[in-house]
Symmetry: C2
Subunit: 250 residues, 2 copies
């Protein structure tokens, strides 16, 4: 008898941002698989098997989940944020495609979550209130030439841009080059939001003009949001709000 | 004594996709403001004042909320999806900016929700699993020349693209032109997902190659997701999954 694989997003960190749909799936599971810090966010139910793994083992994790489901388990794969945004859902389908006959009877479901850029945007106002794009700067997934072309196109389109995984320890120069390009293409007062560990106790959010943005303001837990040419900053009630108007005046 | 304005996202329709954080805010409110079909999604608590309004009255709604808060109310502004994505959060800040001194003491908070493109992506697989952008096709917010430039840039960057509000009754030709451009720029088998009323009882999801996409496949309740050149379709368990791999092979 074949089982199920449910891929869920736990949101960026605050338990109050986990949807009831995902919480129900957590209670259904017989096996829970994921990067170990994400599994720590789940309260273990009696009898449920936890399978924590290290970062960078997405494919192994997906294969493990499919094999357990094939044997009849109800397997939960846990992502931070939304599982469909630079996370485990795509990894699962990559593995599935290589051997779809073997795992043909498994019931697969993807349940969305609050992705980090939306949570970060909400904390500072509405910087993604008009057209925008999301770019993953994580290393070894695509050549730098593609990233460079995308940044150029995004600025040309005048999208607000959310950068995920801006600064890895193994390849920190990517974000340095990204900032260099943005300083070249954007007006110097373009607002840049650095949102670290958003919605957790360690949350730290800072907004600077692009001219003052430095690579060391970001790490792997930071979402970086760069405004469009229309993004505005307003002061209210002793604080600063960043938002992009809905309409575009060219 | 000044009150509060809390802008919340109810997600795309399924009550199980409303975060506990948003549900708590609903219970706090003394006044609830929003487009009338969204207010129908909230169970009225005794003594809470509902202020439904018609579409296209975003600015009036925001002003109303700020005025009620100024008089001491705890006002909830309700959006579908995420309030920061083509929704009420930006509308609020636009109004606030025009008269920030008047409303300086109000406590403002934005609470994220599951935006429609994430819910739609989850239903079909992981089409937004690699870099992507979101474009609002709603009329009268920006000139067609800007939309055309953005579509061109997005295809050039090889983003997957999510289109919001693709087809309005008052200006249906925008989406027709959009499809014409995409057919020109993309290979003919590029997958296009039409996700109507996602996560509700009326949900209807269809995937076609761009060569077979027609304007009448979308309405205002539809999210349209166009894959990148790398987006793949796989068959499993009697159904079709659409996903974009995490890595990019150029």
């Amino acid at each position: 008898m074949s089982g199920r694989v449910i891929v869920v997003g736990l949101g960026p960190g605050n338990p109050a941002q986990i949807t009831p749909q995902v919480s129900r799936a957590v209670n259904l599971a017989t096996d829970i698989i994921g990067y170990f810090p994400y599994l720590k966010r789940i309260i273990p139910k009696k009898g449920v098997r936890f399978h924590p793994s290290d970062n960078r083992f997405e494919s192994e994790r997906a294969k493990h989940a499919l094999d357990l489901a094939e044997a009849g388990s109800i397997v939960l794969i846990v992502s931070s944020g939304d599982p469909g945004v630079f996370a485990m859902a795509a990894a699962l389908f990559e593995v599935l495609e290589k051997n779809s006959l073997k795992w043909d009877n498994i019931n697969i479901e993807i349940l969305p979550g609050i992705t980090a850029m939306m949570a970060a945007a909400a904390r500072v106002g509405a910087p993604l209130g008009h057209d925008f794009c999301a770019i993953n700067l994580s290393d070894n997934l695509k050549p730098w030439s593609i990233i460079e072309k995308r940044i150029r196109s995004a600025v040309d389109a005048d999208f607000a841009i959310a950068f995920y995984n801006p600064r890895s320890i193994s390849r920190p120069e990517g974000f340095q080059k990204t900032l260099r390009l943005l300083k070249l293409y954007c007006q110097s007062d373009r607002p840049v939001v650095f949102a670290k560990a958003v919605s957790t106790k360690e949350e730290k959010i800072m907004t600077v003009p692009i001219s003052k943005a430095r690579p060391d303001m970001a790490d792997m837990r930071t979402i970086v949001i760069v405004g469009s040419s229309q993004t505005r900053i307003i002061q209210q009630n002793g604080r600063e709000w960043i938002y992009t108007p809905r309409s575009y005046l060219s």
